[in-house]
Amino acid sequence: MTENKKENIDNLLSRFYRADEIEQIKIDLTEADRLFEKYPSPQVSQEVIDEIKSKISRKQRRIAFSSVLVKTAAVAAVVIIGAALLMQNIKEVPVSHSAQNGYQAALAKVDSNIASLEKEIELLRDELLAIRLNEDDGTNGELADAINNVDTEIIETENLFWKG
């Protein structure tokens, strides 16, 4: 079994031993090899080899299964993390500056409309109050018409107000 050893034993031994020792060591090494050859170890049985091979097959299947499992878990984790990041981005998308300006301008316009309508209602109420204060019983012809006109105007203005 020693012929396979790829080394120059003389060179090696000369690095550590004296010339007279080298020959004896070489004899000892050869004798040891002869001893192992004289008492060979028994051979491993074919049943053991077959059993080992079938264990290897089972192990390979287990390794393949766990590798698929790990890959699937990794893909699932990536998908979940990706989806979470996407959701977060959607929530955090800022309203663009121009859109925000347009929205604020529209609100301001509505506010000013409301204010002018409220003023008009106020004026009409004052007018109605003045008329009522000056009427005698509120039933004479012209005055009643004027009151009715103002009332109708108030109602129309209020309707306009609520319609926006």
Partner: protein
Amino acid sequence: MKKQEMPSPEIVKDIVSLARKGDKQDLSQLVDIYSSRLYGYFYRLTGNRDEANELLSELFLKMVEKIGSCRPETFEAWLFRIASNLFTDYLRTKKRNQKMLSHIEEQVLTEAQMPKKDNFLTDKLARQLQKLEPETAEIIVMRYYSQLSFEELAQMRKEPIGTVLSKVHRGLKKLRQLMEDSDD
């Protein structure tokens, strides 16, 4: 069991490269190529067929698990290093178990009740190897069965080459002496 012819290092390298990719046929071939030598290694160190079978089986399963991490050109040294680690673990477990059992055995078991050690230390060489320090026996057996050079052995054991050479030489001398002195 027919003795497997050892293929050339180039062929072994190719087989290992394919086995690393999980090729079932090539893994099977590696078992065929190395089982005889590795069984010899374990048998010589344990002196017991069942334990050698168990260690051999464990070794090849480890090989399948870890073959991706070995370089095809140093496969043999890599495989024998795993074998050596397994044997070290085996010794440790055995020592622990013996410590636990020895006290009980002394008190409870009589000679007749002692468990039969079937096929234990069946030949002279096995018996004499057991008389050496486990580390010395291991390095001698490793050198013979692995066919590694002293340089490769030194690398595997992470020891200077001179130390390995001297351990092997002293161990062999002692083994020869024990064999000569033995009555059987």
